[in-house]
């Protein structure tokens, strides 16, 4: 509740072109947004570039639009992130055959280094590979729910579905990930 109020206050200040509010928003949400992007792009550099772009885009959006569609600043940031990732893959699709939907992202050395630095890296590395085999929607809800800790209502806001649907998607996504990790084939 306190977070929601803080989010609203930040939004109001951003609307008034308060650059300090922008910095506060950056510090509050950068880690989550970066992580969300990190799972979906092939390199750490791409994750960094896209994260910067997402915050600038959010600034512009708040100045020129009403937040009614996204309800919270957090939801807006995730929404912009999802669109930015789609655009990123669209731009790269001509030079790189890798697509957002094939779910098999090559993890480059720099990204690998980051994973290896994590505690329990074997499990994380394995799970990272498996989660990338899921379809986008499943991957998104799992990261949003269990990694970035958004509640069902917030996820519903980000992916544009109702809470009931989100619960079903989370259940199916979890089951799909379990099936993969157990070596079973999944049906997306």
């Amino acid at each position: 509740m306190a977070k929601a109020t803080q989010d609203k206050q930040l939004y109001k200040r951003l609307k008034k072109k308060d650059k300090e509010a922008f910095i506060e928003a950056y510090d509050s949400y950068l880690d989550d947004i970066y992580r969300f992007v990190f799972f979906k792009v092939s390199s750490q550099a791409d994750a960094e570039d896209l994260s910067s772009y997402i915050f600038l885009k959010a600034w512009d959006y708040v100045q020129n639009n009403n937040l009614k569609d996204y309800k919270t600043l957090k939801a807006l940031l995730y929404k912009i992130a999802r669109n930015a990732i789609v655009d990123h893959y669209r731009k790269n699709s001509k030079t790189n055959n890798q697509s957002l939907d094939d779910g098999k992202i090559d993890i480059k050395d720099e990204k690998q280094d980051l994973v290896e630095s994590l505690v329990n890296k074997d499990n994380v590395e394995f799970l990272l590979k498996k989660i990338n085999e899921l379809k986008d929607e499943y991957r998104d809800v799992l990261i949003l729910r269990y990694v970035n800790e958004l509640n069902v209502a917030e996820i519903a806001n980000v992916i544009g579905k109702n809470k009931g649907n989100v619960r079903v998607i989370i259940y199916r996504a979890t089951k799909a990930l379990r099936d993969i990790t157990e070596g079973n084939s999944i049906k997306n």
Binding site: F22, D31, L56, W59, V124, I143, Y146, V147
Partner: protein, 317 residues
């Protein structure tokens, strides 16, 4: 520490615990700090830009803005008109060679009708009618040459022939009307010709060669009866009469080569499926239309000269 039940075979709780481990993924601190500064500069820059937008407007700026409001609708109207007119010309051009069954054929017919309605000069209407008749002839030719199996081909050709005849008849009627309007001078000239026929001198000159032969035979009888000097005179006269006959024959041909005649011939040629012949006959008729008024007067004046010469020659006889 999260454990896997069987190597990587994990239950839901384990799975979620492992997923939570991803929270440790974070951007590099140095990048984070560096990027914060860059973004702050960019955001500050955009705010300054926004302030500029809110600066009080000068009179000139205000005037420019008002002008924009005025010019935009005008530009829009101009562009719409340009598109409509341009599109119209393009479609007319594109439909030029269309035949019945083509999607653009209707545009071609509409264009013809519009053009005809907007033409007020009767002579020009005749020209247009003949052009359209020519178009129908071309379409029939093209339709008959197409190899594709067209069930309506017979009906379409029949319709085109009917349209061709309509155009032809309209053109003929129009030519008659134009002639009637210019009847007065023509009637006077014709009367002169008729009078000359009544005199029985060289009325035959305006008819067929057979009658010319009759005249020559009468000359032979005269030679038998008269003396040598007279024969010489008659020979001179006969020469004159032959010249007159030739001249009158040419005049007769000229009169016969009227547009109505050419149109009738075009119709005959179409019925015989000679489409090229039809088109060239229509072109001929088209050329002759300009002479419907002016040309006939010239033709009649030639007749007058013939008549005068004939009369004089007759008197000599």
């Amino acid at each position: 520490m999260v454990r896997f039940a069987h190597k990587y075979n994990m239950d839901e709780k384990d799975l979620i615990k492992n997923l939570e481990a991803f929270k440790e993924i974070k951007p590099r601190e140095e990048w984070k700090t560096f990027q914060r500064e860059i973004l702050l500069k960019q955001v500050s820059g955009s705010r300054e830009g926004t302030n500029l937008e809110k600066a009080p407007m000068s009179l000139f700026t205000l005037l420019l803005q008002r002008l924009q409001y005025l010019t935009q609708p005008m530009m829009a109207v101009f562009l719409i008109a340009a598109i409509i007119l341009g599109g119209g010309f393009m479609s007319v051009y594109a439909s030029k060679d269309s035949i019945p069954g083509d999607s653009l054929y209707i545009a071609k017919i509409l264009n013809e009708k519009t053009q005809f309605v907007l033409t007020f000069n009767e002579e020009k209407k005749v020209h247009l009618g003949l052009t359209y008749a020519g178009n129908r002839a071309k379409e029939i030719k093209e339709l008959m040459q197409t190899d594709n199996v067209n069930k309506n081909k017979g009906d379409q050709v029949e319709k085109l022939v009917s349209d061709f005849k309509k155009e032809i008849n309209n053109a003929k009627n129009r030519i008659s009307r134009i002639n009637k309007e210019k009847e007065l001078p023509i009637t006077t000239d014709e009367k002169i010709i008729e009078e000359s026929i009544d005199t029985g001198v060289f009325s035959a000159n305006l008819k067929k060669d057979e009658q010319g032969i009759e005249i020559s035979s009468s000359k032979v009888d005269l030679i038998k009866e008269e003396d040598v000097e007279e024969v010489i005179n008659i020979e001179k006269t006969s020469t004159t009469s032959e010249e007159v006959l030739a001249t009158s024959s040419e005049a007769t041909l000229e009169i016969e080569s009227n547009p109505e005649q050419a149109i009738l011939e075009a119709q005959d040629l179409l019925e015989n499926q000679d489409f090229d012949g039809t088109l060239s006959k229509l072109e001929e008729a088209d050329d002759l239309i300009d002479q419907v008024g002016q040309g006939e007067v010239q033709g009649t004046s030639t007749s007058i000269i013939i008549e005068e010469e004939a009369t004089s020659t007759g008197e000599n006889l």
